[in-house]
């Protein structure tokens, strides 16, 4: 198991953002993490990569208890993530942005090696021809790829993707899905938070569904799509609707 999440709970004041979340993630899998708005998906990422320390439970990464470990230490250990809202260093070139990722990743690379890694990663995500451009001049789809490239340059074992498909047009979505698959094929384990449901169902080996901070389902995409609790979480409670129809 590359990642074990055991009984993780996280509160913000009176809000129980995560309660007792538990799952194991084998290497080289793609795990889809879905759930309605406010379900706690990004909070779970923040607990896994050390932004938040959970009140209860622990996180094991490659067998080691890393609960509450600093984010930059986890980056050194091979855990990288992308963010929902991308914030490239706009005044630096695309290549320099990716070099930053390489310099703060799993290994301490000098600038020369970091540059080589950046070139390779940029080619891989299809931004090779944009390397010299200022990051601020990219369009949304390209910025999403840059965000991914920065994370990949850290040469992670585990990659957390937070809505990499959001804001992309249908053909960009198809390309990005292929890129995610290709990353996994290189041996990287992936957890992806995603709202573009057909895409995440298509690419995931396994899925977890959060609703109000609780893990309400786990299984293959097909099991998830047919799970009554998941359907209710997304479509609402049919019994309440029946009452509305009855009462006049």
């Amino acid at each position: 198991m590359i990642l074990q999440v055991e009984g993780v709970s996280k509160r913000f004041g009176g809000l129980q953002a995560l309660s007792d979340v538990t799952f194991d993630l084998p290497e080289r899998q793609i795990l889809g993490l879905i759930g309605p708005n406010g379900a706690g998906k990004t909070t779970l990422f923040n607990v896994i990569n050390g932004v938040y320390k959970p009140e209860e439970g622990r996180v094991l990464f490659r067998g080691e208890d890393v609960t509450g470990r600093r984010t930059y230490d986890l980056a050194h250990m091979g855990l990288a993530r992308t963010h929902q809202i991308v914030r490239p260093l706009n005044e630096l070139s695309v290549r320099e942005n990716v070099m930053v990722g390489a310099c703060f990743g799993r290994e301490d690379h000098g600038l020369k090696t970091a540059g080589e890694i950046a070139d390779e990663v940029l080619r891989f995500v299809g931004l090779g021809s944009r390397a010299g451009q200022l990051a601020g001049s990219l369009n949304v789809g390209q910025k999403k790829r840059l965000e991914l490239a920065r994370a990949l340059a850290a040469q992670p074992f585990l990659l957390l993707l937070d809505e990499v498909l959001a804001g992309l047009n249908p053909s960009e979505i198809a390309q990005m899905v292929e890129t995610v698959r290709a990353i996994r094929d290189q041996g990287v384990t992936i957890i992806m938070i995603e709202h573009v449901m057909h895409a995440v169902m298509n690419v995931s080996d396994r899925m977890i569904v959060l609703d109000y901070g609780k893990q309400i389902a786990e299984g293959t995409p097909e099991e998830i799509a047919n799970n009554p609790r998941v359907i209710e979480a997304y479509l609402g409670d049919p019994h309440l609707a029946e009452r509305l129809m009855e009462e006049t």
Binding site: P36, G167, V200, M201, I231, Y234, A241, L244
Partner: protein, 236 residues
Amino acid sequence: MALLEIREIASGYGEVQILWGVDLTLEEGQLTSLVGANGAGKTTMLRTVMGLLKPWQGSVWFDGRNVSQLPAHAKAELGLVLVPEGRQLFTDMTVEENLEMGASPRRAKGHLKRNMERVYTMFPRLKERRYQHAGTLSGGEQQMLAVGRGIMANPVVLMIDELSLGLAPVLVLGLFQSLKELKADGLTMLLVEQNVQMAMAVSDFAYVLAQGQVELKGPSRELARNEHVRSAYLGM
């Protein structure tokens, strides 16, 4: 005749396109619901119809007139009224002051008293709390006030963005029952709602939006039994 007709609307924010050519028609006196998963484009649709966002392409026709280029306040003057997501109340003003603010379109001013009576009859809770600051209301009461403020604008078409979001089931049921009352009064409404089951139960006609396009549409009673609705949400 269609009271509101939306033709081939494309819209978005900055360089991000959200809607990819959406057609939607509201028949007079009907409650139409627009449902769809997170990020499907429902709120963008309402904001574009209302004029808070300029359509990139396509047109909005209200009562036979092309209103695509009119700003939101001008649309409110015609009777196109939006109850926004997240309520957007004036929290430091009283319940009654919030309702009075709703009557700011010229077309609504003369009907202020009658509409306030209408709101208080529908939501007696608001009458009880009329002198209380809106910020001290519970979530359910705030949503009642947001709908009430919409009614104060004397709408011809009332558009509601996420009636039930974040509310407990018993409150959700109460709010949906109020919609049934408004419908019985003959008000034309467009409801954007995450709770598909409730939206289908209350509406006459429904559209399912997915990835910024209409995935399904039809009479709500038929769509409620349609397996494709589930797959529009869950991708398979």
